[in-house]
C-alpha cells in the first residue's frame, strides 16, 4: 500500500473543495437585481455614446427590448388579477412598441431592413435571462410580505428606468440623425425645411420616428416621476454566498479577453476590454481603501495614485477605440458575459442596497481579503493585457465610421495631441464618405494618438502592476504572523461553511494559501 504512489480518491477529492481550484462556468450566475443593474449600466453607456448613425439600428432593436421588459414584468410574482393600474404603463409601452415593430416590418423607406443595435440586444437578452430566472424561482418569493413587496416594486422601477434611458437614447440618435441630414443638405446647397415641433432637426424621414419614440419616452418617464428613489429603497440584496466570486469573475474575464484579442480584431471587443479594465481599476481603489481601513492592506498613496492613473489611461484608450466601432458592431458574447459578471461581482462587494457602501461597511465584508487580493492580481496582470491591446493599434488598415474619425482627427490636431500637418489645414476624411456614412481608414492623426494613448496605457498599467504586486506580497493578512488574526478567524469560519465538505471541518489549507493566484497569473 505504502509503495503505491498513485493518487487516492481522497487526494483528487480534495481538489474539488480547494478554493484555489476555481471552477469555470459559462453560465450567467448573476442575480435578477444584478442583471437589472447591468441593464441600467448598459443604458447609461448607450446614452453617453449614442450618435446619429445609431438611429436605424436602435429603432429596429427597441420593440424587442420592450417585449423582453414586459415579459420580465409579467413574470414578477404578486400580479393582481384583471387590469392593474400599476401595470398600465408597461402595457402601453408594449402596445406602442408593437406598432413600431409592425411599421418597421417589410419597410423599404428609412430605416429599412438592416442590423439591430448590439447594446440594446444585450439589454434585451439580460432582461430575458432575468425573466427566465424569476419564472424558475419566483414561486418561492413571499410577495405578500412587505420586504418582498418593496423589492418587487424596486425591480419594476429598474425595468422602467432602463426603458426610459434607452427610449431617450433612441430619441437623441434620431435628433442627431436629423441634424446630420440638415448639415449635409446645407453643405450640398440644398434647402431644408426645418421641423416645427420637438426640435428643428426632427426632419423627414426621422421626424415621424421622433414623435413615436417620444411617446414611449414620456410613458416611461411618467411612471418614474417621483417614484424611482423611493421604490429602489426597498430593493433587497443577496447575502454573501461565494467568497471567491470576484476571483472567479476576474479569472474568467482574463480568459475571455485574451481569447477575444487572439481572434480577428473587432474594435467593439477592444472597447469593452479597455472599459472593463478601467472599471477594474476604479473598483480596486474602493477595495484598497476599505482593505486599508480593515488592516488587510498597508495604506499606500503610491499604490492608489498608480491605479488611478492606470484607470484614467484605460478610459482614455477606451474612448479612442470607441471611435472605431461601427454602429452595428457585435460583441463577442462570452466576453460580454464575462464583463457583466465582473461588474456584478465588484458591485456585490462595493455596494449596499443601492449606494456605494462606506469603507467601514466594505471593511466588515468577510470576502474583502480575498477580493482585494484578486483585484490586486488583476491590476498586476493588466500590464500584459495593455501591451496586447497596444499591439492592436498597429494593425494595418484599421477602419471606423467616417464622421467619428473626422471629428477625432481634427480635435487631436487642434489640441496638439497629434503632429500638425506641414501643408496646413487638411481634410482628413472626405465629406462624401461622411455623407454616405462609410467606414474609412483611420486617418494619420487618429492612428498617431491611438498609438500614443496605447503606449501611455501600457506604461501606466506597468507602474500600477508593480505597485499592486508589491502590495500583494506585503499584505499583512497573507504573511505568517500578520496582524489581522481576527480577519483570519472570520475568514476561516466563512470558508469552512462555504467550501468544506463537512460542516464544522476547517479547510484543509491555511488561509495564506487561499489566494495563490494560480488561476490568474499564468493565463496573462
Amino acid at each position: 500500500m505504502a509503495t503505491d504512489l498513485r493518487p487516492a480518491y481522497a487526494d483528487i477529492d480534495e481538489e474539488l473543495f480547494d478554493v484555489d481550484q476555481i471552477p469555470m462556468t459559462s453560465r450567467d450566475v448573476r442575480s435578477v437585481g444584478e442583471m437589472l443593474f447591468d441593464v441600467d449600466y448598459l443604458a447609461r453607456q448607450l446614452l453617453m455614446d449614442v450618435g446619429g448613425d445609431d438611429a436605424g439600428t436602435l429603432l429596429r432593436s427597441w420593440p424587442t427590448m420592450v417585449a423582453a421588459a414586459e415579459d420580465l414584468w409579467a413574470s414578477l410574482p404578486g400580479r393582481r388579477p384583471g387590469v392593474d393600474e400599476r401595470d398600465r404603463p408597461i402595457t402601453s409601452l408594449s402596445a406602442q412598441a408593437a406598432t413600431i415593430e409592425s411599421s418597421l416590418s417589410g419597410r423599404q423607406a428609412w430605416p429599412g431592413q438592416g442590423p439591430t443595435n448590439p447594446r440594446v440586444d444585450q439589454m434585451t437578452q439580460t432582461l430575458l435571462n432575468a425573466a427566465a430566472l424569476v419564472r424558475r424561482y419566483g414561486a418561492e418569493i413571499p410577495h405578500e410580505q412587505t420586504e418582498a413587496h418593496r423589492d418587487l416594486e424596486a425591480a419594476r422601477t429598474r425595468i422602467m428606468h432602463g426603458l426610459y434611458l434607452t427610449a431617450h437614447a433612441v430619441n437623441v440618435a434620431l435628433h442627431d440623425n436629423g441634424r446630420n441630414r440638415v448639415t449635409d443638405a446645407r453643405e450640398s446647397g440644398r434647402r431644408v425645411q426645418l421641423a416645427q415641433h420637438h426640435s428643428p432637426y426632427a426632419v423627414a424621414p426621422t421626424g415621424v420616428w421622433v414623435d413615436r419614440i417620444s411617446v414611449c419616452e414620456n410613458t416611461a418617464r411618467s411612471y418614474l416621476t417621483d417614484r424611482f428613489p423611493q421604490a429602489l429603497a426597498g430593493e433587497a440584496t443577496r447575502p454573501v454566498d461565494n467568497p471567491g466570486r470576484l476571483a472567479q469573475a476576474l479569472a474568467n474575464w482574463d480568459i475571455q479577453s485574451h481569447r477575444a484579442l487572439a481572434r480577428d480584431l473587432e474594435p467593439s471587443n477592444v472597447l469593452l476590454i479597455t472599459r472593463t479594465q478601467g472599471l477594474i481599476a476604479g473598483a480596486s481603489m474602493v477595495l484598497i481603501d476599505a482593505a486599508a481601513t480593515a488592516g488587510v492592506l498597508e495604506p499606500s498613496d503610491r499604490l492608489v495614485a498608480a491605479i488611478a492613473d492606470a484607470g484614467r489611461s484605460w478610459s482614455n484608450l477606451a474612448s479612442r477605440w470607441g471611435d472605431l466601432v461601427p454602429p452595428a458592431a457585435r460583441l463577442d458574447e462570452p466576453l460580454a458575459r464575462a464583463a457583466a459578471e465582473v461588474r456584478a461581482a465588484y458591485r456585490h462587494i462595493t455596494h449596499d442596497t443601492t449606494t456605494l457602501a462606506t469603507p467601514e461597511a466594505i471593511a466588515a465584508c468577510p470576502e474583502l481579503p480575498q477580493a482585494t487580493m484578486a483585484s490586486l492580481r488583476a491590476i498586476g496582470a493588466g500590464s500584459e493585457l495593455a501591451h496586447v491591446v497596444a499591439e492592436k493599434a498597429d494593425t494595418p488598415n484599421l477602419t471606423g465610421p467616417a464622421r467619428a474619425l473626422s471629428r477625432r482627427a481634427h480635435n487631436d490636431v487642434e489640441s496638439g495631441l497629434a503632429t500638425p500637418p506641414a501643408e496646413g489645414d487638411v481634410v482628413w476624411v472626405s465629406p462624401a464618405d461622411i455623407l454616405a456614412r462609410r467606414a474609412v481608414r483611420v486617418p494619420q492623426p487618429v492612428r498617431e494618438t491611438l498609438r500614443s494613448a496605447s503606449t501611455a496605457t501600457a506604461a501606466a498599467a506597468s507602474t500600477a502592476a508593480a505597485s499592486a504586486m508589491l502590495a500583494h506580497s506585503n499584505c499583512p493578512s497573507y504573511r505568517p504572523g500578520g496582524r489581522s488574526v481576527t480577519a483570519h478567524a472570520q475568514y476561516d469560519a466563512h470558508v469552512t461553511s462555504a467550501f468544506s465538505p463537512q460542516p464544522g471541518v476547517p479547510p484543509r489549507k491555511p488561509p495564506c494559501s487561499i489566494d495563490r493566484s494560480a488561476p490568474v497569473g499564468p493565463l496573462r
Binding site: T225, F228, L232, T355
Partner: protein
C-alpha cells in the same frame, strides 16, 4: 476643494457626478427625480465629449 475643482475638466466633473448616481444616492431626500438626473448627466457627458471638453 475649489482648487481641486479647477484642476479637473468639465467632462471629468460630469463623469464623477454620473458615477455617483450609479448607485443613486437614495438617502438624500432632495434627489426625488433620480432617473431624470441620470438622463441629464448622460446627455451632458455626451455633449461635453462632442465639444471636446
Amino acid at each position: 476643494m475649489l482648487a481641486d475643482l479647477e484642476e479637473r475638466t468639465p467632462l471629468q466633473l460630469l463623469t464623477e457626478a454620473e458615477e455617483l448616481t450609479r448607485p443613486l444616492p437614495l438617502h438624500q431626500p432632495d434627489l426625488v427625480h433620480g432617473s431624470q438626473l441620470v438622463v441629464d448627466l448622460c446627455d451632458l457627458i455626451r455633449e461635453a465629449r462632442g465639444l471636446g471638453y
